[in-house]
């Protein structure tokens, strides 16, 4: 019964909170309309995600978020430096392959998004069996180092959160 009408309780909660924050006031009307959205949207989109992803404890998620935020800050300064002070020809742009240990689609999506937002790397593609990511580096004199960095810094933590 609950599973049928609330296929993703966490998604419903997030939608309700985001709606209240968007309207920026807490009143009965806002909460009721938010609740309607929170029930209807998961129902009509539930075909796209039949499985309910397992999400780990809040502490691990906060730690991951802070690490990613810090890396984004550092990434911005590094990439800004590369753009301003390096000749375009001297940049060693290349594609590297990151083999994945993660299996859940949500975890892989999060990892791909994180890679795109952090130091000089953009996720381009996924292999058809979802076992490796193709990552483009703006400046990578040491491709293996980039792969190791991604695996230890992000993938291990995501594995704890999602699996």
């Amino acid at each position: 019964m609950l599973k049928r009408y609330l296929p993703h309780p966490l998604l419903s909660l997030v939608l309700l909170v985001v709606w209240v924050l968007l309207v920026n006031e807490i009143s009965a009307g806002t909460v009721v309309f938010g609740a309607i959205l929170a029930i209807v949207i998961p129902l009509i989109t539930s075909n796209f995600w039949p499985a309910r992803p397992k999400i780990g404890n809040a502490f691990a998620i906060c730690e991951y978020g802070l690490i990613v935020l810090w890396d984004i800050l550092v990434a911005n300064v590094i990439v800004a430096g590369l753009i301003l002070f390096r000749k375009t020809e001297s940049l060693e742009s290349k594609c590297v392959v990151v083999p994945l240990d993660l299996t859940s689609p949500e975890a892989i999506t999060t990892l791909a998004g994180t890679i795109t937002m952090t130091p000089g790397t953009v996720t381009i593609d996924l292999s058809a069996d979802a076992k490796s990511l193709l990552v483009h580096c703006l400046h990578a004199p040491d491709p293996q180092g980039v792969v190791d960095d991604i695996k230890t810094r992000y993938e291990g933590r995501l594995k704890e959160i999602f699996e």
């Binding site: 985001v18 924050l21 968007l22 920026n24 984004i72 800050l73 990434a75 911005n76 990439v79 800004a80 753009i83 301003l84 375009t88 940049l91 742009s93 594609c95 590297v96 392959v97 083999p99 791909a112 998004g113 795109t116 937002m117 000089g120 953009v122 996720t123 381009i124 593609d125 996924l126 292999s127 058809a128 069996d129 979802a130 076992k131 490796s132 193709l134 483009h136 703006l138």
Partner: protein
């Protein structure tokens, strides 16, 4: 408004402006599409972030009402930027790149999804899209 608040807000706006400028300059300076993708996905996040924080502080201190809209904008930006970058990169791969010559092998049983969409269980997403069928 106290002087220190003015100072913090103006510094944040200037930092944001500088990063946005560098991001736009990177779009011109880098000559190929894939390196070019790095400029807008990186430098703009801190640029936009700094300006949004400045806006939040300004309305909080000067007008006295606390809004959280800026944090939501940041959240939506973080959700959409990687997806846009990924779609642009995939379109570029499909049109301009030869997977046998220009890309490293995936090291697994299957190729890259853009060129070899058939998964290990034989599922081919392109079969679902067939405009001539009906």
């Amino acid at each position: 408004m106290p002087f220190i608040a003015e100072l913090v807000i103006s510094v944040l706006i200037v930092i944001g402006g500088i990063f946005l400028l560098i991001g736009s300059y990177g779009m011109i300076k880098l000559r190929e599409l894939l390196p070019r993708l790095h400029a807008p996905t990186k430098s703009t996040t801190v640029g936009v972030g700094a300006i949004l924080i400045a806006s939040m502080l300004f309305f909080w201190i000067e007008r006295g009402h606390f809004t959280i809209h800026e944090l939501l904008i940041t959240l939506f930006l973080f959700l959409t930027a990687p997806i846009t970058a990924n779609l642009i990169a995939k379109a570029y791969l499909l049109r301009n790149v030869d997977p046998a010559k220009d890309l490293p092998p995936s090291g697994q049983g299957e190729g890259w999804a853009t060129f070899d969409p058939v998964g290990p269980d034989g599922y081919d997403p392109s079969e679902e899209y067939n405009p001539e069928k009906d």
